[in-house]
């Protein structure tokens, strides 16, 4: 029986349904007898639990109970390997995501201002699953054109005001399909002027003219500026213009990020509010664009506090991450929190050049600072919306959607790989180098490995290189 199940990983000619059945039988019958290898850490409630019940603890206990069902290989709709890890239902997820790029019925009107996000989420998740999405190029070009405004940037749709979040999503989507035709959609001159109009005197960016200023805006702007190789100087129309020509689009951004660190160590949406996982990634991503992570992150953040807070986001037995203290795990933080770890590790480890004195006064991360096993178990056991719908989700009991599919798979990618900030082979400058993570026993099946993505831009390195190379070869706009 066990042999038949493992043959599924290698023998692709075997009838899918048939193997499915055998594997399912294995999970319910044979596994009950021999039992899959699941550590206690992921099989039982944590050792310290308070007796006082409040709304928070009530919800937390419920989620633990729900997750344990999936984590201990008891779910009938998943196929588990011998370590009790669910197999990645790649085809079901691909089908869900292709559908996600199709037409939506009228009850999706509330998503009308987020259409660019749907493009990015679906294309990114498909890419992570190994799909070639360049076949969407033509349609994406037409769709993106309809969202671009003459004054620069992209809105949520035709006639909608340009917004940094939707612009970020469109630019990344274009980078994912790649090709000159896609890159040339972007009016870079107008984009630069528009970005200048969003830049605020305190260093941050408004998300739209007259919109809110938050750290999301700063991260999106930094991504757009560097992917499109835009000039950094400010226009005199910019609210941040002082007449001092040395002030640029990046002036004060790092200080703005610094002001978003809270007493807990995490990062908030804007100064004065609660630390939140999504903004933690924006902060680190933004800083890592401005300078080498080992230089800039320790300079602007209280790193020991940040790491303490970040590490507290991982719960057992769930294995996944929460976004805030005392909140529930959610698959999307696999990216927002999970995606912080490569940047943290880079900032601690720095470039490993011969004779280099470590820039950080903190010890290097000699092994993984978070439980990759926990995260992988949570993703593959709890976040797959099976058997019918496909796609990935927040947690058991929720439905999949493109947003969670994208960020759960991004998180899976960072758990399966290891990024190093190191001297690049060819020109000697520092850059990101990726390799499969191999310091521990691999609990997932090799065929369930997803594509590695760039730790800052969250799309594959080759797509980052493609768009940057294209625009840096251009003279002027």
């Amino acid at each position: 029986m066990a042999d038949s199940a493992s043959s599924r990983m290698t023998d692709t000619d075997v009838d899918e349904e048939f193997v499915h059945d055998i594997a399912a039988t294995l999970s319910s019958a044979a596994m009950a007898a021999i039992g899959p290898e699941i550590p206690d850490l992921f099989s039982y409630a944590p050792p310290v639990i308070d007796s006082l019940e409040t709304e928070t603890s009530y919800k937390q206990n419920e989620v633990v109970q729900d997750c344990l069902e999936y984590l201990t290989a008891k779910d009938k709709d998943l196929v588990y390997n011998l370590r009790g890890v669910g197999l990645l239902e790649r085809d079901a997820h691909k089908a869900f995501l292709h559908k996600g790029l199709g037409r939506y019925p009228d009850r999706f009107v509330p998503a009308d201002a987020s259409r660019p996000w749907y493009l990015y989420w679906c294309l990114s998740a498909l890419t992570l699953l190994g799909e070639d999405v360049s076949s969407y190029r033509e349609k994406l070009v037409a769709t993106a054109v309809s969202m671009q405004n003459d004054y620069g940037g992209f809105g949520g749709g035709c006639g909608q005001t340009s917004h940094l979040a939707t612009t970020y999503a469109v630019v990344l989507a274009l980078a994912l399909v790649g090709g000159e035709e896609a890159y040339e959609v972007i009016d870079r001159r107008a984009m630069w002027r528009w970005l200048c109009s969003l830049k605020q005197p305190d260093g941050g960016f408004q998300v739209a003219v007259g919109g809110e200023e938050d750290i999301r805006g700063a991260y999106c702007a930094a991504v757009i500026i560097t992917l499109l190789n835009l000039p950094l100087n400010l226009t005199p129309e910019s609210p941040a213009w002082t007449g001092d020509e040395s002030k640029t689009l990046f002036t004060g951004v790092a200080d703005y990020v610094k002001r978003c660190q809270t007493f807990e160590g995490g990062i908030s949406e804007k100064p004065d509010t609660e630390a939140h996982g999504a903004y933690a990634f924006c902060a680190l991503g933004c800083l890592s664009i401005l300078d080498a992570p080992d230089r800039i992150i320790p300079k602007y953040l209280d790193l020991p506090r940040f790491v303490s807070w970040l590490s507290s986001r991982q719960y057992a037995p769930e294995g996944g991450f929460s976004g805030r203290t005392n909140k529930l795990v959610d698959g999307c933080y696999s990216h927002w929190v999970g995606g912080c770890w490569p940047l943290i590790e880079a900032s601690l480890n720095g470039p490993r050049k011969e004779g280099d004195v470590p820039k950080s006064t903190l010890p290097p991360a000699s092994s993984s600072l978070f439980s990759r096993e926990g995260l992988i178990r949570y993703i593959l056991c709890c976040c797959q919306d099976m058997p019918r719908r496909g796609g990935l989700r927040d947690k058991p009991g929720k439905s999949s959607d493109p947003y969670h599919s994208c960020y759960v798979l991004s998180g899976l990618s960072s758990a399966q790989h290891q990024w190093r900030w190191a001297p690049l082979l060819r020109d000697g400058t520092d850059g990101w180098i990726v390799s499969p993570y191999s310091d521990e026993v691999q609990i997932f099946e090799e065929e369930d490995r997803v594509v590695p993505i760039h730790p800052v831009y969250a799309i594959p390195q080759k797509n980052v290189d493609g768009i940057r190379r294209y625009f840096s070869a251009k003279e002027g706009f």
Partner: protein, 540 residues
């Protein structure tokens, strides 16, 4: 002709034959519903119809009833009557008269589906089940709507003549469109819309149509012009939404800031509150028109409660406060009233979701903007304390408290980071906060919120972590022994730092090791790194 049957004979026969429901029953009870009335009328005008429908034919009727039935048929049909001689016709009429037969009759109800003849209303209810007065009201409204539609058509052709300068066909005079005509039409359309909604429930198809509203005649809607193939993740718009945003695009392009645009934004927000563009546009209109901020806030409260997860609402509120600030700045009472109203509303919102990030984010903005650090008898700290009483694990409430206490410009230094020592924080405040956090830790020691707060307050106040050593050690006993008992992993975490601070590196290392091995192994990688930090510290 056969002799007519006497009505008086009926009750007798009724008792013995199958022809139970026949002519001249005692006057029926007055009908309660439309269907009842129809039923009664049909029966009254179709003698024996019910019986005949149930049986195979005339043979089941008594001879008298048979005659009656035949006579009623002849009476109703001029074609049949024409076949009779004069005498027979006279006889017929005499019989008809004596039996009081109906000369006209309702078409018999179709068998089996007797209830659907009046149709169904907007709620799916059979109109036939309406009580008579309600039905009369319904009919009157329908008549009124028909009259209004006719008048509206006439206005439309009048307006067309006026615009195209076509003279009146009867008088050959030029047609003028008077303001009075337009306002009459506007009233008419309002009434039509409400009648339509009332009768048919078609709120969106006609009643809110901009194309048929003369107020919008000067606007050419910008229809969605999506290039061919721009179909990725496209949403099939309902007609009302598609129309509303086509007008929105048009007025936004011409930068119109008018009351009608304000109403349009309200309509679009109602259809899609996540449409950030319409919110930004709405704010511009409000400020251009000088609309009163409290009124807008009142309206906004309703929208916020109906859309708990929406965040555009909170930025809009933020913009409103910025706009209103000059009024509040110089008027302490107005500011206090406003702050109290906002606090009440946020309390209401937080009852729905105590950790709503956007509400808390707006709240901290408001405190800083209006300087509410200690306002209203330390209202902020009190309200947040109430929320912590409710759920001691509400980290949003803890975070807000930290902000209110440690960012108050009267007792803090601008520019000092949140995780840094601030010499301006008074010692008694630090003591109070440490006491508060330790008290709450006692309720549920594994709750991380007050631990983070405690550590944060210690650092802010420049205190040694070791100053709380005794309180923290209460939660850990017999460390490293057989009797090891840990009531809080966060205590163990803090103890590791306290011991390190006091040079007891071995003990600190033991804390971290036990966390990794037993008490919090999911974070083993992190605890390992912390051990490396200890090692490094020891070496240096």
């Amino acid at each position: 002709m056969p002799p007519k049957g006497k009505a008086a004979a009926k009750p007798k026969e009724a008792a013995t034959t199958t022809s139970k429901p026949t002519t001249a029953p005692p006057p029926p009870p007055s009908p309660s519903t439309v269907n009842d009335r129809t039923q009664q009328r049909t029966q009254a005008t179709n003698p024996h119809a019910a019986t005949l429908a149930l049986t195979s034919g005339l043979s089941t009727l008594s001879p008298a009833d048979k005659t009656l039935w035949i006579n009623s048929r002849f009476a109703r049909s001029p074609a049949l009557r024409a076949k009779l001689g004069t005498k027979a016709q006279r006889d017929l009429w005499r019989h008809v008269n004596e039996a009081n037969l109906p000369v006209r009759s309702l078409k018999p109800l179709p068998p089996k589906t007797p209830t659907s003849i009046w149709g169904i209303d907007k709620t799916g209810r059979d109109i036939g089940t309406y009580p008579i007065p309600q039905f009369d009201d319904f009919t009157a409204k329908r008549a009124r709507l028909t009259a209004l539609i006719a008048a509206s058509h006439s206005f439309a052709s009048h307006r067309r003549r006026a615009t195209l300068k076509i003279p009146d066909p009867l008088t050959n005079e030029p047609v003028l469109l008077l303001e009075a005509d337009i306002s009459a039409e506007r009233r008419r359309r309002t009434e039509m819309a409400s009648l339509r909604a009332d009768l048919y429930g078609t709120r969106s198809s006609n009643s809110k149509s901009y194309a048929s509203d003369p107020e919008w005649d000067d606007v050419t809607p910008t229809l969605l012009e999506e290039p061919e193939g721009a179909t990725l993740a496209a949403i099939a718009y309902p007609d009302d939404y598609a129309e509303a945003i086509s007008y929105l695009r048009a007025v936004m392009v011409r930068k119109e800031y008018s009351p009608r645009c304000l109403r349009l934004t309200e309509h679009v927000i109602q259809l899609n509150p996540a449409h950030y563009t319409v919110w930004l546009y709405r704010a511009s209109i409000l400020f251009a028109l000088g609309v009163k901020v409290p009124e807008e806030i009142q309206w906004l409260n309703g929208v916020a409660l109906a859309n708990l997860k929406n965040y555009q609402i909170w930025h809009h509120r933020h913009l409103l406060v910025d706009q209103y600030y000059p009024v509040l700045e110089g008027d302490e009472k107005a500011r206090d009233d406003f702050a109290r109203g906002e606090a009440e509303f946020m309390t209401r919102m937080l009852e729905e979701d105590a950790k709503n990030y956007h509400v808390w984010s707006y709240r901290s903005y408001l405190v800083r903007k209006l300087g509410l650090w200690k306002a209203g008898g330390e209202r902020e700290r009190r309200l947040v304390e109430e929320m912590v009483e409710e759920d001691v694990r509400n980290n949003s409430a803890w975070s807000h408290r930290f902000f209110v206490v440690f960012s108050d410009p009267e007792q803090s230094t601008e520019g000092v980071g949140a995780t840094e020592f601030d010499p301006r924080v008074p010692g008694e405040i630090v003591d109070r906060e440490l006491g508060y956090a330790l008290g709450k830790i006692g309720l549920a020691p594994q709750n991380q919120s007050p631990w983070n707060y405690l550590r944060g307050a210690l650092v802010k106040g420049g205190r040694k972590l070791g100053s709380v050593r005794g309180s923290v050690e209460e939660y850990v006993t017999g460390l490293g022994t057989e009797e090891e008992e840990v009531r809080s992993t966060h205590a163990l975490d803090l103890l590791a730092e306290i011991y390190a601070e006091q040079g007891e590196t071995e003990k600190a290392d033991l804390c971290l090791r036990r966390l990794a091995e037993k008490w919090d192994p999911i974070r083993a990688g992190y605890w390992g790194w912390r051990r490396a930090m200890l090692e490094q510290k020891k070496d240096s």
